[in-house]
Symmetry: C2
């Protein structure tokens, strides 16, 4: 993918210090905003996006033309009500939708590629806080995120406790498990095994590691869905043939089953909008995420200084970040004496439930923001 559309962004006026000890200079943060910031500048909500998400939370995606990824949640009269709140969503550093990442130009005028520093979730949050500084927003009404967005919300609460009055973390975890890391490693190896990856130096090339990136996306996509959801959606149904004939075994290697066709479509569509090196860097940041480790090995210590109210939401069919992970966060918040509400919602869509039609989630979000 190459980016040939305009984005709104600001350039941070200072170097961004990183957990690796390196710094990121001239970092650009691309973002979208909705609704009006009030005079007290205290009605802002920051929405943090997931691994392959972007800032187009409630605006049309410039590549795919699809509605914003949380269009159902964010807008006038919606649970995150842009008639009341000023909503900001920024592309994380390391990504590829306008914020500085591996595809961006380094100071030598060449793309960073694998010279881009390895970043962490906390580094992403430093970038977001840099944006808030530039926007002169001292304290958010709320920071919200699902999946990797939830990691950022928790990290912001832990590392910049004065910056948010409310923290809403959905379908997330305070640390990546061995299985989480394993699935990401498969994706990274699929990308790096693609000869077109060329050690990350493919930006000037006519080819890019689309095949590897598509496989990575396919593997990850399975983890976003529940087994029951997949069975209900596809079961063992066959794909209709291009000539209109009803589906059946082809005794070949075309996509016979609907689920195969669906996965291939997910994989190839993804390569149009995402950069393979960004996928490497962001999955690495997620695998490195262990909020307790950053705070003396005790998760409760991470939240020691927080006066924010927390709301933690999990889904009963999410096997990527199962409810036990949310409960682990809630126990730590309880131990830290924080104000926390916790709900496990029932929804059939697995991890992806946070993006989909789950009216109970709408009610939780609207209710928490109004408290």
């Amino acid at each position: 993918m190459t980016r040939d559309y305009p984005v709104s962004s600001i350039r941070l006026p200072h170097d961004l210090p990183l957990d690796s000890g390196q710094v990121l200079s001239d970092a650009e943060i691309a973002y979208e905003s909705y609704g009006v910031l009030n005079e007290a500048r205290d009605n802002a909500i920051l929405i943090c996006h997931a691994l392959t998400g972007d800032q187009f939370v409630a605006s049309e995606h410039p590549v795919t033309g699809k509605p914003g990824w949380w269009d159902r949640m964010v807008g006038p009269g919606k649970p995150v009500d842009t008639d009341r709140f000023h909503v900001i969503c920024a592309n994380v550093i390391g990504s590829c939708l306008g914020s500085t990442g591996p595809a961006s130009m380094a100071s030598d005028g060449q793309p960073y590629a694998m010279r881009f520093p390895v970043i962490t979730i906390r580094d992403m949050v430093r970038g977001l806080v840099g944006l808030l500084d530039e926007l002169a927003i001292e304290r958010l009404h709320c920071v919200i995120g699902g999946s990797m967005g939830g990691m950022q919300a928790l990290s912001l609460a832990a590392n910049f406790p004065e910056r948010a009055g409310r923290v809403l973390a959905i379908a997330t975890t305070a640390r990546h498990s061995a299985q989480n890391i394993a699935f990401h490693e498969v994706g990274r190896q699929a990308i790096m095994a693609d000869p077109a990856w060329s050690n990350g130096d493919y930006y000037a090339s006519e080819t890019s590691p689309d095949a590897g990136l598509a496989v990575a996306r396919m593997a990850a996509h399975i983890t976003y869905l529940s087994e029951d959801g997949l069975t209900e959606k596809f079961g063992r149904r066959f794909q209709d043939r291009p000539d209109g004939a009803p589906g059946a075994k082809s005794f070949g290697f075309d996509a016979d089953f609907q689920v195969e066709s669906y996965l291939r479509y997910q994989g190839s569509g993804f390569t149009r909008r995402f950069d393979a090196n960004s996928y490497l860097y962001i999955t690495r940041a997620m695998d490195y995420f262990d909020l307790a480790e950053e705070h003396g090995g005790k998760l409760a210590q991470a939240f020691g200084g927080s006066e924010a109210r927390f709301c933690i939401v999990s889904f009963d069919t999410d096997w990527l970040y199962p409810t036990a992970e949310s409960r682990h966060i809630v126990h730590a918040l309880n131990a830290a004496g924080a104000a926390v509400s916790f709900v496990e919602l029932s929804a059939p869509f697995g991890h992806d439930s946070f993006l989909l039609d789950v009216p109970a989630l709408d009610r939780v979000v609207a209710g928490f923001l109004s408290q």
Copy 2:
């Protein structure tokens, strides 16, 4: 991989009819056997292997030098007691350890490669029954299999009900679910995305699609283990550095976590002993497996003619073929009026439990064979 070691095999004297409508001519079946066949020829046990298994159930693997894959279960005085039973284990057609598969020579003296016909589990069983015919074994004391081996055991019971007095199916299913198919499709796409795959025509080439095959293996391997097992074995522990320094974040893309290193090792080791095209064909056969569909859409009908005794075993941490799949089989056997015992064993290793140290399984196997 190339095969440069001798194997015991027989050539079937007749064409093997296949579910696709094609036939396989001059099929060779490679097998190992243990223990003495009695005069009545009624003490034979056929063990069916899993996707990446082979006939070396209790003998050293000719490539890896490792002990047989079920060495703990099969041998003198062991649960499958070779002092009492004549044990046979054959490489399935489509595989690459001596039985006819995509790497074998077709009649034109060139490897079949993708000209090899797409096969099914029932086709594999036809090959096994062909072997039994050649060995003049009319009726097995028992057919045993775990995972894909269990599919073969069930298929043999359904399609050749007179050939086995007992059927022991472990950690298996009567049909591949959408999620099962999805994971296999990721593996196939990883192989086919590897330019060295060359549409399957790599046997005369200096390169083979090892990178793609390794990724396929890594993705599959995660599904063989339980999340808790992965956490217990690896957690978020870091890999020690080659210079002996203790592990920590490298802020790079080397294998930082032990689980990453383990998966990479699993992937690369696998390519030494397995053929990528065989992986495509065998996963396809598994995805096509739906024992009910073959029998008028009713699983109970598949077992209608069977007078065998069945034993179905599942593991509580197996999320690839969870206990519900075994229960589904048991209900069908009950409906068919078959004699069936069923046990869900508790073991921490996920799907791989059937291969590992689970003493309760040893007792179930020994007990069932003695009944």
